[in-house]
């Protein structure tokens, strides 16, 4: 970065050079466990091995080994008794299915081995999810093997069987119905049309039944502004994107779908005459969200100003388009006028989205969208979207009714409102007043444990189901494993209670053949094979909702203030854990949040100036209270966040979810307030924060690997410069020699390699990588990466092969300390996926004393676990810090009581990848098992592999196609074509000057900002 003044840093501690950071700079894996830090009694706290213990263990070990060597145990091989015709052991079967979790939707392909699902990939047949998945969808396969789900139905907290549950429950239901008592079914958004039909059948039998739908992360405001349904949003057509608090790339409504569309507008090419324009993205928000981190221009506001920001934006646009302005106190937000100017300039290709759940704010935004011609182009009201159907008013009303004792029976259909509704405590208090209660939740969670009956639903991978994510677009779910526990899918339960046949599979098929496919068995089989049925092309409507902007503005003026001085709480959803429905999934708990890079916790995020003002620093435990609700949690200093705000994530603080989730973080749902009849994730009144004097480390991975003052790790430029010169902002390393200055890559100590067969490589586009980390979860699942837990992450020993480095930067001079401090209030952010670079001149290979890491004839840097003796020389010599060391045995060890520590959890292990033991190095293998399998398939068919046939897990899962993997020896491959174009443009190698010649190239980030004015 000699060419720019930018300074990049990974965390506040690096910027301010804190002692803890300086101490650990050269300490990639944290301290070695030594005798002096033996304070804990568990291995994890630092193994305090004494000499005598060591000798004892040694003696025992020698004896045990020699005993074990005497006779090898007899191993059995147990074939099927009756082999199913389509299952061949050791060959994977793939089934098309659908992932739904509330309103989250993805059409998926499930990989099963010997009848057990082990991996989920996207289904390209779907025009909606287009073959990409979120991290949560990837992780859902592990939730199938959650040992802490209920093993069967329960009545009054005791295990029972289905027959007696059905008998008792229907008898009581009949009693309620006879008396005309009110029955409620409470659920989150249901995407399945057939399930809704089942509920209607149930309601027909018990006519007092009402179905209440709510969402833990509602979009009630948006649906209210559009006549009760969500409109279809398409970012791919947008030239100007403005988001007011909507984290649409990370957590808002359908982030993977939106990210894919967004990426289309952000892709540029260095080719002469190639695409040199991209959308401009403005983000106004309170926290530094994943979306804000990717925006070109970003500014922050306080939650109490949110409605007025919408009004100000409307007024700014109205002024430019000649429409009437509306009343509202003016707020000062940077870039707002500029955003309005761009919106109007790209009229017809502009879009404004808002994250607020306040219907009045959404109405103003809808009116603004109408002014910039978004309806009919970027927003389509002709295509109803079903992702969020929750009705906040109805739910609040239900809780009030329950409290008043006017509800006779309630069925919670996979809903946990006691935990994830702001009035959960009120509901918990009201439930004893409800005569009959049942939950179909998969575990005795916060809500189910308060119910009289629990009729556990099966996991979606064990069930039949369907989905209609958008009107006319259908999708099927089929079971890929028979039920693990004695569970029964909720639809069958409802049918049983309604006195109908419990065979939901037959019910689903007949409903599809009659009402959806309008065809017979063949059509059904085709739909089941494809996983989706999309007969319609979406109708486009340019109708915009009619909005009384003045009435909305008046309502906003009442609820928001332009200048508040007090502290405010904002509640947000994390990209990884979401609403907490899968909180007991260790992969998601250890998912480093894209921006904060923290895992295993939620925390009170505050900005640096606020921290200074409150005399707090990172890790101080504070008590945050508002609305009579109090929580204690550690402080995390978050650059870019609005001043005087505290951000707390939902999804944590579970108490009855299981070992991995219970007691991790605190529950933030109660801080959600009611504004204009909707649940809005803010709390602006009476917020207090006090230090408790305790401290608690936050498990953050951000500064675990540092750039060691290397140059050109991340490279970036602005669009205007890039359009002029594709090499703008690129760094070409030069070295001085006795023969004058030379390119660093011209000097080499190595002989190089010759690749006759394949040359596998990867290109990662920093311009489209949003940092969403779906690849991280996908990699964990594919490569049996162990979960190490909170303490080991703090000890800097996380095992992820793929990490997303997040760099903050500013334009201030390196010496200009003051400037840097200001810049850190609203830094620019770069995300850089970092994995083994598979160097052709690999420094790790030259230092391994036992040749455990070697180079293959296909360009891969191979790691041979059974040869490794754990010297860690390779990790010390790796310039990219991507090698991870197995300090402990992470499987079958009570110290790491996660999925690898129980038989059920181990069912998710990929049988084609070794589970690594203690004392060996590991790192990205470029999914060599997939490469080998793909090559074998081609050899069997006597042909060369086709480009795209072999995919690595990260590239396959990337929602934005930021990762391109392929054979660089095949001139027809996508990667070869891309590199040919970008070689003289954006492509660069990280730390090119040390000439290790990686097989992974990066494409420089381009921001759509105005070119810097010449100084």
């Amino acid at each position: 970065m000699e060419n720019s003044n930018k300074r990049y840093w990974k965390g506040i501690e690096e910027l301010t050079n804190e002692p803890s950071f300086v101490k650990n700079i050269h300490n990639e894996f944290g301290n070695m466990p030594s005798e002096t830090d033996a304070k804990g009694d568990s291995l994890v706290d630092g193994a305090g091995t004494h000499r005598r213990d060591f000798l004892k263990m040694l003696g025992f070990g020698v004896a045990a080994v020699s005993l074990a060597a005497c006779e090898s145990p007899v191993k059995n091989t147990i074939p099927y008794l009756n082999k199913p015709e389509d299952v061949e052991p050791t060959i994977a079967n793939w089934y098309a299915s659908t992932y739904t979790d509330g309103g989250d939707y993805a059409s998926i392909l499930v990989k099963t081995r010997e009848g057990r699902p082990i991996k989920i990939e996207g289904n390209k047949s779907s025009s909606i999810s287009k073959g990409v998945l979120s991290g949560r969808a990837h992780a859902s396969v592990l939730s199938l093997y959650d040992n802490e789900k209920l093993k069967g139905p329960q009545a009054a907290g005791k295990a029972t069987d289905w027959t007696s549950l059905d008998k008792d429950f229907t008898a009581k239901l009949a009693e309620v119905a006879a008396k005309g008592g009110q029955i409620r079914i409470v659920s989150n958004t249901i995407l399945s049309p057939t399930t809704k039909k089942v509920i209607a059948d149930f309601a027909a039998k018990y006519p007092t039944t009402q179905h209440i739908t709510y969402d833990a992360n509602p979009a009630y405001g948006l649906t209210q502004a559009h006549g009760g349904v969500l409109p279809n949003i398409d970012f791919s057509q947008a030239k100007t994107i403005v988001s007011v608090g909507a984290d649409f790339l990370g957590s808002w409504i359908a982030p993977t779908e939106f990210a894919a569309q967004w990426a289309i507008t952000r892709r540029v090419s260095s080719e002469k005459g190639g695409k040199k324009d991209m959308s401009r993205h403005y983000q106004f928000e309170t926290i530094l969200s994943n979306t804000g981190a990717n925006a070109d221009y970003r500014a922050s506001y306080k939650p109490s100003q949110e409605g007025l920001v919408a009004v100000a934006l409307y007024n700014a646009v109205a002024k430019l388009t000649g429409a009437a302005t509306i009343a509202g106190a003016s707020v000062k937000v940077d870039h707002l006028e500029k955003a309005a100017k761009d919106l109007v300039a790209s009229k017809g290709a502009s879009i404004i989205v808002a994250g607020s759940n306040d219907p009045e704010v959404q109405k103003i935004i809808a009116a603004t969208n109408a002014l910039v011609g978004a309806y009919g182009t970027t927003i389509n009201t002709g295509l109803a979207v079903n992702y969020r159907q929750g009705n906040d008013m109805a739910m609040a009303n239900f809780i009030k009714e329950a409290g008043a004792g006017s509800i006779a029976a309630v069925i919670f259909y996979n809903a946990n409102p006691v935990y994830n509704h702001p009035m959960g405590a009120a509901l918990a208090a009201a439930l004893p007043k409800v005569g009959l209660s049942l939950a179909t939740n998969d575990r005795a969670d916060e809500t189910a444990s308060l119910c009289q009956f629990i009729a556990p639903d099966s996991h979606f991978l064990e069930s039949w189901n369907d989905a209609e994510p958008k009107a006319g677009f259908y999708s099927l779910t089929q079971p890929t494993i028979s039920t693990i526990f004695k569970t029964r899918q909720a639809q069958s339960s409802f049918l049983t209670w309604a006195g109908l046949s419990a065979d939901f599979a037959a019910y689903l098929e007949s409903n599809w053949e009659k009402n959806i496919l309008k065809g017979g068995k063949v059509a059904w089989n085709n739909a089941l094979h494809d996983g989706v049925f999309e007969p319609t092309t979406a109708t486009v409507s340019s109708a915009s909702p009619s909005v009384d902007v003045n009435a909305s503005a008046a309502a906003i003026s009442k609820a928001y203030t332009a200048s508040s001085t007090g502290l405010e709480i904002t509640v947000y959803e994390k990209v990884g854990l979401g609403t907490g429905s899968q909180a007991n999934n260790p992969w998601l708990q250890e998912f480093p949040e894209p921006v904060s890079k923290a895992c295993w916790d939620n925390y009170a995020a505050i900005s640096q100036p606020t921290a200074t003002k409150l005399k707090l620093k990172q890790g101080d435990v504070v008590e945050v209270s508002a609305k009579g609700y109090k929580v204690s949690l550690p402080v995390l200093v978050q650059p870019g966040q609005a001043q005087d705000t505290i951000a707390i994530a939902i999804g944590y603080g579970r108490t009855k979810a299981g070992k991995s989730a219970d007691g991790v973080g605190v529950n933030a749902y109660p801080f959600i307030s009611e504004i204009n009849g909707a649940c809005v994730g803010t709390c602006t009144q009476g917020v207090s924060i006090t230090a408790t004097g305790d401290t608690k480390d936050i498990a953050q991975t951000q500064t675990h690997q540092t750039v060691m003052a290397r140059q050109a790790v991340v490279q970036e430029t602005v669009l205007a410069d890039f359009a002029k010169d594709a090499k703008a902002g690129s760094f070409t390393p030069r070295v001085k020699t006795s023969e004058g200055e030379k390119d660093a890559t011209d000097l080499t100590l190595w002989n190089g390699h010759e690749y006759n067969n394949h040359a596998w490589g990867m290109v990662i586009d920093l311009n489209t990588c949003t940092g969403c980390s779906a690849c991280v979860v996908s990699c964990n699942a594919e490569n049996n990466v162990p979960v190490v837990g909170r303490q080991e992450v703090i000890n800097r020993r996380e095992m992820h092969w793929m990490r997303i480095d997040r760099y903050y930067s500013s334009d201030a001079e390196v010496e200009d300390l003051k400037g840097l401090e200001i810049a850190s209030d609203n830094p620019e952010v770069v995300f850089q996926p970092m994995l083994c670079q598979h160097c052709n001149n690999a420094p790790c290979e030259t230092v391994c004393p036992v040749l455990a890491t070697t180079h293959s004839t296909e360009g891969l840097n191979q790691m041979t676990y059974n040869r490794c003796i754990g010297t860690r020389y390779c990790a010390n010599n790796c310039p990219y810090k991507v090698r991870r060391f197995n300090w402990f045995r992470y499987f079958q060890t009570d110290d790491f009581d996660f999925n690898f520590n129980n038989d059920l959890g181990r069912m998710v292990i990929n049988p084609d990848v070794t589970v690594r033991s203690r004392g060996v190095m590991e790192k990205c293998s470029m999914c060599v098992q997939r490469i080998q399998a793909g090559k074998l398939e081609a050899k069997k068919e006597k042909r060369r592999p086709v480009d795209g046939e072999i995919q690595v897990a990260c590239a396959q899962s990337c929602p934005t196609n930021a990762i391109t993997f392929g054979d660089m020896n095949d001139p027809a491959s996508e990667i070869s074509k891309l590199l040919l174009v970008e070689k003289e443009g954006r492509a660069y190698h990280v730390i090119e000057e040390i000439n290790v010649k990686p097989n992974i190239s990066y494409l420089k980030k381009v921001r759509n900002k105005d070119a810097k004015k010449e100084a």
Partner: protein
């Protein structure tokens, strides 16, 4: 005249050629027939006169006319329904068990099968025609313990022996010198020998020599034993059911792939499931106590726990289809002559050295496989030897370890 001669020669040649080609064609038919027979018929019929599920087929071409056989194979039920006496007798004789129809077999294919049956009965010792393409030299069972070490030890042993002889000769001449005077001719030969032996035993150089020798031999034995840990060559455990490969694969020549369904497709060859046994044993030898065990397992719904003979460590990835389907290797290359084993035993050492040896020596089965075309071309440019597995990365770690 001259002209006539030439014609005669021509005629003779063409006649010879005709005969040769007919024989070749017949042989080819029989070869195809053998494959078809083994894959389709052998489960129920023997090529001898032994009765399995259906009648033995020896002499079938004499018993029935070819037209009848073709009709029967294409649709046995139709022949029975037509009231054919032979067919109905046969049907009743075999408890009205209908034969599976093979409507897709062409007449030529059926003739081929008959040609094979006839040929196998005419010359039972003749080697099977049309053996699968040779897949390069089968790797000799490798001497797994390191060759280097042995050479070293033998060398040391020789040196030691030479030193010993030298020492003995010195001792001998010294004792001769010192004892020349007191040589007592009265002492018998045996007394002298024992005296010499005593003095030899007292000699420290000899003692040291012997100790070193014992240590060396002991060391070699230990190293050899250590190399043998975990190698189970010759392991032939008793199985829960006394299944004989000699009978099934040897005598009845059932194709390996019939039971081991994954061998050309997947990573594992797969131990057959009980329903595959039942394809034949629902009719054959139902009363045998060994086969009753399968029935019991099916009744109780308890899978049969076979003892695993070939155990590769989890850290090694081995894929059958790469070797059988792509490499064109035969099962016996690694498993030995299974068709002669009453109880299956592990014939190869299955050590990494054994794998590597084979990868060093084996030619790539590249013929007709477009995957290898470019690799062969590049290889042939600067090498005269055929493309070996090791030339295309066959010795690399991540071919088997990941």
């Amino acid at each position: 005249m001259c002209c006539k001669k030439l014609t005669l020669v021509k005629f003779l040649f063409s006649f010879l050629f005709l005969i040769a080609s007919t024989t070749a064609m017949l042989a080819q038919d029989a070869a195809e027939g053998e494959t078809l027979f083994k894959n389709n018929c052998a489960a129920c019929h023997a090529s001898t006169d032994e009765v399995l599920v259906g009648p033995g087929l020896k002499g079938i071409s004499e018993r029935r006319p070819i037209e009848w056989i073709v009709k029967w194979v294409h649709n046995p039920q139709a022949v029975i329904a037509s009231g054919d006496k032979y067919a109905n007798d046969l049907y009743n004789k075999f408890n009205k068990a209908a034969m599976t129809p093979y409507p897709n077999f062409s007449e030529a294919q059926i003739k081929g099968i008959i040609a094979y049956i006839d040929a196998s009965n005419a010359a039972p010792a003749a080697p099977a025609a049309g053996a699968a393409p040779a897949a390069g030299a089968a790797a000799p069972a490798a001497q797994s313990s390191g060759g280097m070490m042995e050479v070293l030890l033998v060398g040391l042993l020789i040196i030691m022996v030479i030193v010993l002889i030298a020492l003995l000769s010195i001792v001998n001449s010294l004792s001769k010198l010192s004892k020349a005077a007191e040589a007592d001719p009265s002492k018998s030969f045996f007394e002298r020998v024992s005296e010499n032996a005593k003095s030899l035993a007292a000699n420290s150089a000899v003692k040291t020599g012997i100790i070193v020798l014992v240590l060396l031999l002991g060391g070699k034995a230990t190293i050899d034993a250590a190399y043998g840990v975990g190698i189970h060559q010759g392991y032939a455990p008793e199985q829960p059911i006394k299944f004989s490969h000699k009978l099934h694969a040897g005598q009845y020549q059932i194709n390996c792939n019939y039971c081991h369904t994954g061998v050309y497709e997947g990573k594992g060859a797969n131990v057959p499931s009980a329903n595959i046994c039942m394809n034949c044993h629902n009719a054959i030898k139902r009363e045998s106590p060994e086969i009753q065990k399968i029935y019991k397992a099916l009744e109780k719904d308890e899978p049969i726990q076979w003892v695993r003979v070939h155990n590769l460590p989890d850290l090694a990835y081995f894929n059958h289809s790469q070797h059988t389907n792509v490499g064109g290797l035969e099962c016996k290359n690694c498993h030995g002559e299974i068709e002669k084993m009453e109880v299956v035993e592990q014939r190869s050492s299955l050590t990494m050295g054994w794998c590597i040896d084979c990868h060093r020596q084996t030619d790539v089965n590249a013929k007709g496989n477009a995957y290898y075309d470019k690799l062969v071309e590049v290889h042939n440019k600067d090498s005269k030897t055929p493309l070996k597995v090791q030339n295309i990365g066959g010795l690399e770690c991540s071919k088997c370890h990941y």
